[in-house]
Amino acid sequence: MSTGTVVFIILTGAVLAVLLYIVFAYNALVALKNQIKNAWSQIEVQLKRRHDLIPNLVEAAKGYMAHERQTLENVTRARAQASGAKTVPDISRAETALSSALGQFLAVVENYPELKANQNFLALQEELTSTENRIAFSRQAYNDQVLFMNNKVEMFPSNMVAGMFHFRKGQFFELEEQSGRAAPRVSFG
């Protein structure tokens, strides 16, 4: 075998390996992109569930909480804004506002023992708790996927494939911690 043939074989092998890598990396990126899309649609399903639940909750509480008109209105308004939001940052902001309004609402509910004993309201509250958990869990799953995707898009060598086919980084879905859940501030003196 002449040197030329050896060089030719090595070169062809290298080119084939690179091509193969590109195919695999491309497929992995497409799979990730679809997973992210899927995870986001899961979040949307859960947010929709939350928005559908809130009018029922407010309706059930109205009879008991005649003096808390302001709190109820806050919840309804935050819900209207949240269901109107379109882009990821907008949705994040609106949902954060809705979460804090709901937190206030649930804190006020504590003052109404009759409301808390109402079976209908209890069932709704269980649904709300579950929905909040689902939002948290689907958000976590989505953010995990986005982090994985972003690592792929930025890290060598997959970043070259990502650049070639215009894969973009995903956006994290952040909800700021509710003010009600922050640790209480303690001051001495």
């Binding site: 209890l122 269980e126 708790t129 689907s138 690592n151």
Partner: protein, 508 residues
């Protein structure tokens, strides 16, 4: 990324199972040698093939029958969203968190001992089983921790792996049993003569080796099997913490399970590794022959996760508590998962939990509803539970002599029972009108409203001022008003020990 941790763990498990398989083939070969001529060229092969055949037969049997056997033995009833919304919600949350491809079927086992297990050979087709005792004793967060543990068994395909490993262990035990028995009953003379027949070559050492293997093999296989089982328990605990982001939930559930005096009566011993804690109280502690790590250790590891709920935190807590340096998870997968924070407990926003007896009663009601009991909630506060054997169409309340029609339970009846008793919801809707009445328009809808002070939470007698009819009020009676069955007058009940309600009640 929990899926890569799971994939890495799967490789390790496969390795261990291959090791067990080797052991199986080896002991099969040795037995083949002992039974036939020692130096027969095919002796080893025949023995190994026999061992393989035994294993495959056992595997097929357990794979095709395991679900039905286990569920049937444990007297499980399938529940739906209507029958137990909270359990259903919790499972659905964990399915979302674990990105399971489909919703598992949910079963409730009629057993007072708190326990749970998962079944199913693949994540697509799985089921989760919890006992009525667990439902009765756990808060929402605790239930979530337990369900997450079971979901991670499904995610890790533990049932499949443990079935494969268990059947391997079973066939190794069987083969070595046959071998030692035959050895005991065939005299050494025969063995000696056989070796002589083989041409006087030294067969003694080989026989001794096979004898040793027959003794050591089962022990080794057991150690491998149980270490595999314990590893997968740790992994399921870690995944549970990761999925719920609340290790304390599982920890306190495990504690409650450990403290409970009941033991599971319905579990066949072969199914022990599938439960969240071993249903047969093993007092072996940290032994090599335990299917589960000791409960206290699992609880202490979970409680030591003070910084986060990721795999890295679990691993740190594991090293801190057990002082073992072995790797639970591959190091490369621990890099980027430490950022998972612990969430707040859900109790602040969760509905008020009923007291323990109350929730035990509810769990009992679920089982009764599933078994075809009829439920009647009498306006006097008595809840009547009629067994399916009661065939009459009417039933008279033993306390207030009110006659009730017996509605045999269909799906709807079950729902109404489980979402809280019918009379409670009616009282609640009556209570909704109350604030309006108090603010000046009182007595609009009742012919002759009366007000009687009563102490909630105690037995007491109340007399209707209109007709003199006497009522006995149970401690569980919570309504704010009742209608006298004698004269139809509304009796408003003002509780005496709650200052808020009393002051507002006096205004009317």
């Amino acid at each position: 990324m929990f899926w890569s941790v799971i994939a890495a763990n799967r490789r390790k498990t496969v390795l261990l199972i291959v090791l067990m398989g080797l052991l199986l083939v080896l002991s099969g070969g040795m037995i083949g040698m002992a039974f036939t001529d020692v130096y027969h060229p095919f002796a080893v092969l025949i023995g190994a093939a026999l061992a393989g055949a035994v294993w495959i037969a056992m595997l097929l049997m357990s794979l095709f029958a395991s679900d039905t056997i286990l569920l049937g033995l444990s007297r499980a009833h399938e529940v739906s969203r209507e029958t137990y919304p909270q359990l259903f919600n919790v499972v659905e949350e964990m399915v979302i968190a674990g990105a399971l491809p489909s919703m598992p079927r949910i079963f409730v086992v009629d057993d007072p001992a708190p326990n749970a297990f998962a079944m199913g050979k693949s994540p697509e087709k799985s089921c989760i089983c919890v006992t009525a005792g667990l439902l009765a004793m756990c808060t929402r967060d605790e239930l979530q921790g337990v369900v997450a543990h079971e979901i991670s068994h499904i995610l890790n395909q533990d049932v499949l792996y443990m079935t494969v490993a268990a059947t391997m262990l079973g066939s190794i035990l069987l083969l070595s049993d046959i071998f030692t028995r035959s050895f005991r009953y065939t005299s050494t003379v025969r063995l000696a003569s056989r070796s002589r027949r083989a041409g006087g070559r030294a067969a003694g050492p080989l026989l001794i080796v096979s004898l040793v293997l027959a003794v050591i093999g089962p022990i080794l296989a057991r150690v491998l099997y149980f270490s595999l089982s314990r590893k997968r328990e740790y992994l399921a605990d870690a995944t549970s913490a990761r999925l719920t982001r609340y290790p304390e939930g599982l920890a306190s559930a495990l504690q409650k399970i450990g403290e409970s005096a009941d033991t599971l009566t319905t579990a066949p011993s072969a199914t022990a590794p599938f439960y969240i804690v071993n249903p047969y109280r093993q007092h072996l502690g940290n032994s090599a022959f335990a299917t589960h790590p000791p409960l206290e250790e699992r609880i202490r590891i979970l409680r030591a996760m003070s910084l986060g709920a990721g795999y890295l935190d679990y691993h740190r807590a594991y090293v801190e508590v057990t002082r073992r340096r072995e790797k639970l998870f591959p190091a490369s997968e621990l890099q980027d998962v430490g950022r998972v924070g612990i969430r707040e407990d859900g109790q602040t926003s969760a509905p008020v939990r009923p007291a323990r007896t109350e929730s035990a009663r509810r769990a009992g009601d679920i089982i009764r509803a599933l078994n075809g009991f009829a439920f009647i909630t009498c306006p006097c506060g008595l809840k009547i539970k009629l067994p399916p054997e009661y065939r009459e169409a009417r039933f008279v309340c033993p306390r207030c002599r009110r006659a009730h029609l017996v509605n045999r339970p269909d799906g709807k009846a079950v729902c109404s029972v489980l979402s809280g008793s019918a009379v409670m919801s009616r009282q609640a809707s009556a209570g909704r009108a109350e604030p309006l009445n108090r603010s000046g328009r009182g007595g609009r809808d009742a012919p002759m409203p009366q007000e009687v002070c009563y102490q909630p939470g105690a037995w007491q007698k109340i007399t209707c001022a209109g007709c003199g009819h006497e009522y006995e009020i149970s401690p569980r009676f919570r309504a704010r008003r009742m209608v006298c069955s004698g004269c139809g007058a509304t009796i408003r009940l003002a509780p005496v020990h709650e200052p808020d309600d009393r002051s507002s009640g006096i205004q009317t």
